[in-house]
Symmetry: C2
Subunit: 205 residues, 2 copies
Amino acid sequence: MITTSKTKKDVVTEFRTSEILEAARKVFAKKGFHDATVDDIANAAGVAKGTVYLYYRSKQEVYLAALKFGIAQMYSALVEEVRRVSTTEEKLRALIAAKLAYFEENRDFFKIYYFELGKIPTHPGTIDSEFKSLYLDQARLVESILKEGSRKKAIRNLRTDQAAFAISDLIRGVVTQRVLGWTKSKISQDVEFIFDLIWKGIAAQ
Amino acid sequence: MITTSKTKKDVVTEFRTSEILEAARKVFAKKGFHDATVDDIANAAGVAKGTVYLYYRSKQEVYLAALKFGIAQMYSALVEEVRRVSTTEEKLRALIAAKLAYFEENRDFFKIYYFELGKIPTHPGTIDSEFKSLYLDQARLVESILKEGSRKKAIRNLRTDQAAFAISDLIRGVVTQRVLGWTKSKISQDVEFIFDLIWKGIAAQ
DNA sequence: CCCGCAGGACTGACTATTCAGTCAGTCTAC
DNA sequence: GTAGACTGACTGAATAGTCAGTCCTGCGGG
């Protein structure tokens, strides 16, 4: 049956796609966009170079696919963790903890996310803006928490949009240090400390 | 006279070196380490490719020199601005303002500083650690401000080392957003907002 | 149940290009 | 006249992307 065979093909395609994506993520994280060769990725995925080009049109396309997959996955993880709790305070703490935890389990991803982005050949206004909007999703998540806190009078009167960016930035900075391996403190300590700093900065009164 | 000729040679060397460095900085910032060619740099500096190799042994060496020069210059600028004022509050605000101002005047430098670092071919424990120590210099500058504030009872009781990292990170994150062009707010606004957030988070009581 | 064949998934040697780095030769300043 | 600063054509290596050919799978007829 046509439908069945199509489905089967789809399954294979999906399998190969994710297999290559997984390999690409590791290789890109280890070597960076330029030093990673398509042969490296193919080897890591256990296929020949030509096969990579059956599923992706270029090295750049593989890279972007790996990156987008990771960002989307992380965003879901953050939303999920924030949903689990109810007060503004808990939500903020959960967000920070979730991001650091996600980092801990996906160090390779963050390496390409933070250091490769903006390095790949791109025509202004296309790829860039796509990632910008993914970044903005996260800032909006923070802002929604702050807005709710503002309504509930849990946090002081401030510009939630600016504060959302500042908090996102702080978290980004902290994670960056970890990506570079320039900090050795325990993650749980970091979470508490950062949260404490932010909370004192924004809490009501 | 030998001395005179040596000095003259030194002057020429210094001129060429800084000429190439300046060109390298622009080219690397625009194209990134890999896409920037030595010919690009030579052209931008108005010399032939061979000349670049008279002053630097490799493309990587040019890159590292440009980067180190920029970091050292920025650090001096920060220290200078912080010296100008006396209270902890002023010092912190001055630090934030100085970094953002330096960024505004050296966008190209930050682009290579934030996005290229950790991407260049490096043997673990050599180059990396050199930049780490340059980074730590800045964190230590923040920490010295905090420690003084702590002694003066201007800020609450907290781990100044951790707080110094957090504040450095926050600033780093904010600047990163600007490097990527993902924020349009006025710098002066940002300075006030970030300072306010930090200050509320660390001020005494 | 077996055989053979068609379509397409897969391969990897090959091509075309891009550059880092070299070096034989030129030019210039003294 | 010469030392050495400077040049830029050249080489060798690396690698993105291609494509002619192989292999595997599943199906239809004997």
